[in-house]
Amino acid sequence: MNAPEKHLAATAPQPATGASHPHESARAQVAGAATYIDDIAEVKGTLHAAPILSNVAHGVLRGVDAGAALAMEGVRGVVLAADIPGDPLLATFVHDEPIFARDRVEFLGQVVGLVVAETVMQARRAARQVKLDIEALPAVLDVREAVKQQSFVLPPVTVRRGDPERGIAQAPHRITGSLDVGGQEHFYLEGQVAYALPLEQDQWWIYSSTQHPGEVQHWVAHALGLANHDVKVECRRMGGGFGGKETQAGHVAVWAALAARKFRRPVKLRLDRDDDFMVTGKRHPFAYDWEAGFDDAGRITGLKLMLAANCGFSADLSGPVADRAVFHVDNAYFLGDVEIVSYRCKTHVQSHTAFRGFGGPQGMIATEALLGDIARHLGKDPLDVRKANLYGIEERNVTHYEMTVEDNILDPLITRLEQDARYRQRRAEIARWNARSPVIKRGIAITPVKFGISFTATFFNQAGALVHVYTDGSVQVNHGGTEMGQGLHTKILQVVADELGVPFHKVRISATDTSKVPNASATAASSGTDLNGRAAQFAARQVRQRLAEYVAEKQNCRPEQVIFAHGQVSGPDALMTWEQLVDDAYHSRVQLWSDGFYRTPKIHYDKHTLTGRPFYYFAYGAACTEVAIDTLTGENRVLKVDILHDVGTSINPAIDIGQIEGGFIQGMGWLTTEQLVWNDKGYLATHAPSTYKIPATGDVPEHFRIALWPEPNPEDNVGGSKAVGEPPFMLAISVWEALRDAAAAARGDAQVRMDAPATAENVLKALKA
């Protein structure tokens, strides 16, 4: 249905960019020949570790009795906080998280230490036999309770513009509302894993399934009391990341390294899926309260919004996540008079972390909820109210953080989707149908996305790459980005192939490795291709430039006259194959490799006032979703989805469509079936796929159409493209708004409070509340 029109073989003619090349590892993946960390042949003497978990949400840790575990078959010993040679705290930015719980446990599932044994099952079995003496303390488990108690991991942040009190007081209409939105488990199919190998002279080789090898390197070195150059971190690919392996992979790698150091043996730590759920952080659950004033058209004249992020027991990335939520409260809409108060709440659960969208979804959903409520309050079509609030081109075009929106395509994009999806006709049809249907009610919604691209921490927006041309003309690329399935490596191979004018298959990628490109930022914030693609392009360009100069000298022309295309190189006088040129150049001692470095221009941002231009550009999109609900049970189904999304000029349409579809379905899961349930003791009761339900094949609507917006990125970005990793996730807010539309049809009144996820139970509750 959304299959790109042409399937191109690996030997397709140039240019490589713009073509739907299969994923560079596809053939290996389908044959079971793609290697993940747990598949690496184990070095002789490898031991296996398993975590010892706190069984109390909050308490004083009085003692650890490993006697029974140590007596078990195959067990070599335990690793506890006392075994850490370096800093007992992880080298996180806020520096507030112990590597192993020491005198206090702060969530149920917190790692107190490890059991190390000859086999993984021996280690896991023994870890359960370690007895913890914990004196329980009162635990804060609810985010609203945390606000009440002022239990915070970081101080609250307020962003204010204009006079929201006046905007509300003088408005012809006012509304208040509240909402609770649940978190989300990443459920990367490959669980967290690291394999730590001792090298000579107290150096370490860490295989880690991580989005951020540089940070793993830094954390491991810090914990071992070593310098960064003593630790090499390598990752060929992850079996999924989604933000869950941005910081969380670091913990696992540090633990494995500490065990390897204590026993002077290679140690692998692969978390069992249930332990992975219990230990690692998730998408932040949020709670909201708002008060808004608006005019007869539904245009917001004043908004006061409280967002409380449930951060769990430590800061981790909660500061930037909550910041990005604040930055995305506006989504596509101008908020002239606004006050946003953001609480970063400390609770005694897992430390919530990065997850695709990184707070953006949690910011946007509040405003989308408000606009849906305003429309129903006024008896208007929610799409009209949304359109009335969109950013303008010449005016109403400055965000609440003082960035001018220069690349706004919201109105034409939404209007085209509205027409293509026959929104108005369908809304009328649905209303007629609902009037006759006693049990099933249908709903429809269009919601837009405007997502800011760049790390909000400006210094992260830099990247490096290496391009090596070997004497036979084959090319190897290495860069600081990591592959988690998003197709980053494939796109970079395409970019480099085009830069050198060689076929796609001439270029290979090598594993991400801190000893090749240092100090790389996390592959996150949708920035992988923007940053690393440009760095790789620059590296290739330098090699090409040297070769062009070499040819120009021989052919007595200018370097610009030398053309690299189709695996051939031509000057005014002669044409030669790429391989011939490379061989000649090597023998003439031309440097056939280069580095490349890129930093994003134009961006700046004051983290104290939360103002500036944190984003290089915005990625846009909109989705039209139709759903049905069962008013007897609350069960619901997504029936039809039409998406129009902006990826600029696509480097690889198949990969971009894959990101859009995958992001949308993942977002749909967040808002429908994926429910994290902690019981009153702080125990995460949904800790496996038997109880935590991500979408399955049957949840994909048969009508699921994706179209790409046909314009290039107006900013100078690699190949005219735009980032695509995160923005489509938020298109799924249309699912939740359509469900609220259906619920409103059933209730026949304006107010619909439907907490997310919209499980059958929550939908039924929304019908009655």
Binding site: A33, Y188, A696
Partner: protein, 487 residues
């Protein structure tokens, strides 16, 4: 004690493995003992499908192919079978199997970790449908892939691949050669006793059960497998009933169908759907295909989980359970089998032999409803099966089974009593709904609150009433926009 040697056919060759402990999983054997790491562990509990492999068994002169979860399957259980993993499909020259080629062409792999499992489910589909000249519809693909989770793609390209593979040049398995090898394996089977007992006949099973009452009885191992991987249980001795010929039969008798306890859920549901075609969707929502291919109806019933989905249906149908031991057989209504949470009347020397399910009778109106967070491959928050026989407008017979509302699967005796002999009217349905709500005191857990369960239990009876009156589009299970909009 020495374990029996495990022997199976892979890549056309005989593989023999000695000294494999009885509780070692097939996935551990593949990844750790055979260093075949193409097959992945995603969850270790049969819920994600990353570990899917295909088993081939000689049946009726041919090969029967079944995609199963290797993470919760005991390695010994594949003795005498043929095995395919993701590493076994490509040609010697590296040419990909259509299931693999289609996944590449349709961009069906992103991170690639679920891919080996999808490829094997596709291979199972290929052998069971494409190779037999049957089309792969999107509906079939969705149903047969519902036990495989992908977090990257959103599934559309994988569903495309399922259909695309049928368009590629055919590849075939040399079935005759494998059947021949399996026959030789069966003849030369190592009959020595050991810690893993897999009898082939009922008398043999009953004798072993009597002699080894402490042996852990397993069938498809789709629940017991989790006791190994998640609860870290170790079994000194395992008694596997899944190869007992008498327990693998589906026999049609006058008045009822007898489903052997070791009949897989896939085949058991085929038998039930054969009698009552409208149960097809309910059947396909029971776990995912790899679990239905391994798990057995007898295992689901004997395990007795209060949220097992087959029991409410069987109770509503008036099914009876037959228990066997060296002392003979006894039979009782299914609901009387259970005595408490995961407790039953089974004696130490007994096994479940078969389940007898009455055929439909004229006037019967049966519906089975399942409420879960996810439509496919989920566990019920509430399951309700209602089977009324209306004669002259009066409820002549009422059978109502419920799951998720008590410590065991239960028969709704009060609701049945409220209906029996009364005219079938909206008022009667409301009375029965009220009886249902007051009859059970469900608990709150991660699947649903007690209040929701109670409320929905009654609402489902309301849905049943509406369906019994011929109302269309009152159930999302069968909802299609196009049909709903048809004049």
């Amino acid at each position: 004690m020495e374990s029996r040697t495990i022997r199976f056919v892979r890549r056309g060759e005989l593989v023999s493995l000695s000294n494999v402990p009885p509780d070692r999983t097939l996935l551990e054997v593949l990844r750790e003992d055979l260093a075949c790491t193409g097959t992945k562990e995603g969850c270790g509990e049969g819920d994600c499908g990353a570990c899917t492999v295909v088993l081939g068994e000689a049946r009726d002169g041919g090969l029967q192919y079944r995609a199963i979860n290797s993470c919760i399957r005991l390695a010994h259980s594949i003795d005498g079978l043929a095995l395919w993993t993701v590493e076994d499909l490509a040609g010697a020259d590296g040419s990909l199997h259509p299931a693999q080629e289609a996944m590449v062409q349709c961009h069906g792999s992103q991170c690639g970790f679920c891919t080996p499992g999808f490829v094997m489910s596709l291979f199972g589909m290929y052998q069971n449908h494409v190779a037999r000249g049957e089309p792969v519809t999107r509906e079939l693909a969705q149903e047969e892939l519902s036990g495989n989770l992908c977090r990257c793609t959103g599934y559309r390209p994988i569903l495309d691949a399922a259909q695309q593979m049928a368009e590629l040049p055919r590849t075939s398995v040399d079935e005759a050669a494998i059947v021949c090898q399996l026959a030789a394996l069966a003849r030369e089977r190592d009959a020595a006793a050991g810690p893993y007992l897999a009898p082939r006949s009922l008398p043999e099973l009953l004798a072993l059960r009597a002699a080894q009452p402490d042996a852990q009885v397993v069938a498809g191992c789709t629940d017991v497998g989790l006791w190994v991987t998640k609860m870290h249980r170790q079994f000194g001795r395992v008694l596997d009933v899944s190869r007992v010929e008498e327990l693998r039969r589906v026999e049609r008798h006058d008045g009822h169908v007898a489903i052997g306890a070791a009949v897989t859920l896939t085949e058991a549901f085929e038998a039930l759907v054969g009698d009552r075609p409208h149960l097809k969707t309910f059947a396909s929502r029971f776990a995912g295909l790899p679990v239905r291919n391994s798990g057995t109806l007898g295992g689901n019933v004997a395990n007795g989980s209060p949220i097992g989905d087959s029991m409410p249906l069987l109770i509503a149908l008036g099914a009876r359970i037959v228990l066997a031991s060296v002392r003979g057989e006894r039979e009782l209504p299914l609901e009387q089998f259970y005595t408490g949470y995961r407790k039953n009347v089974l004696a130490a020397d007994e096994v479940v032999a078969r389940i007898r399910v009455p055929h439909p009778v004229p006037g019967e109106f049966l519906r089975a409803y399942k409420i879960s967070k996810r439509f496919d491959d989920d566990i019920s928050a509430v399951c309700l099966a209602v089977n009324l026989r209306i004669e002259d407008g009066v409820v002549a017979h009422a059978g109502i089974g419920a799951g998720g509302v008590a410590a065991t699967p239960v028969r709704a005796l009060q609701a049945e009593a409220a209906l029996r002999g009364r005219p079938w009217t909206a008022v009667a349905a409301q009375a029965a709904a009220a009886a249902l709500r007051s009859e059970f005191q469900p608990i709150s857990d991660m699947r649903a609150s007690a209040a929701y369960r109670s409320e929905v239990l009654g609402n489902l009876l309301q849905r049943y009433w509406l369906e019994s009156q011929g109302l269309q589009h009152v159930n999302l299970e069968s909802f299609r926009i196009e049909e709903a909009l048809a004049p």
